[in-house]
Symmetry: C2
Subunit: 158 residues, 2 copies
């Protein structure tokens, strides 16, 4: 906190691209995905997270962490998905405070039905514009960045 080294030309370009992507990509995706499948991006993320969990079951708080959503938000999203029959909420046996969200059969079916549409959009918005070499070179960089961002929250800085 005290050494303000300005961005050089390459960093600035990198930054601008990154900002543009973060603002445009999610919308571009959802604009097509939601009408086609009736699932928001967030819904889809929650269903995917559950589908990949053992027993297709996850603590509410774990779900919040893996989807990077606030606890309050995930609470309402899960309620909503429950109302729609895609998820079931069970009070956790060994801890009366906690709840688990479980993916129902209907939820799994819905997820599988949505997958092609999701895939098509991902390809159209990203991979159709990138070559194999691009992915190989940029992939690890993005992975490092993503990991760093995930690590930060705990009061970060220094």
């Amino acid at each position: 906190m005290g050494e303000p080294v300005a961005l050089d030309e390459e960093e600035a370009a990198f930054w601008r691209s990154l900002i543009r992507i973060t603002t445009v990509l999610p919308r571009a995706l959802e604009d097509h995905f939601l009408p086609e499948t009736g699932l928001t991006n967030t819904d889809y993320g929650v269903l995917v997270a559950l589908s990949e969990a053992p027993e297709r079951l996850l603590r509410i708080s774990a779900l919040a962490a893996t989807t990077a959503l606030s606890l309050s938000r995930i609470s309402r999203v899960v309620d909503d998905l429950t109302r729609r029959g895609l998820v079931e909420k069970r009070k956790c046996a060994e801890d009366g405070r906690a709840s688990n969200a479980v993916l129902t059969e209907a939820g799994l079916a819905r997820l599988e039905a949505a997958f092609p549409s999701h895939l098509a959009r991902v390809r159209a918005s990203v991979f159709d514009h990138l070559g194999t070499e691009d992915i190989r070179t940029a992939g690890p960089v993005l992975a490092r960045l993503a990991a760093a961002l995930d690590a930060a929250p705990p009061t970060d800085d220094c």
Copy 2:
């Protein structure tokens, strides 16, 4: 629309990183930036766009395009910034329908005051975790992706 080729391992990793970044980065940035400067990410983007325009003046619709915000949103943001004295709205002389947003002196001062904080956050959240080589290799890939996303909106697809 009909050839659903699944993502390979590298593509999937790339995609996951990208999604994580788009969801986490903006919040990470704003969480520190807003308290420090009183400007949201969006506010800052608008001020920057204006500061880079000739005469520090931009049509409302142009502002919407460069910030990737909806017209309705930009309308309200500009109103808000006007109320705060950072921007001035002038009815356009040669077209009675249009308005221009102009950055005021106070707005410019505010932007300059906010810059160090912005820079610090950008460094802390991104560039501190990446090497020069990372930026050189991934930069062009991100630039291409950003350009493709910007090009898409016009009914895209096919």
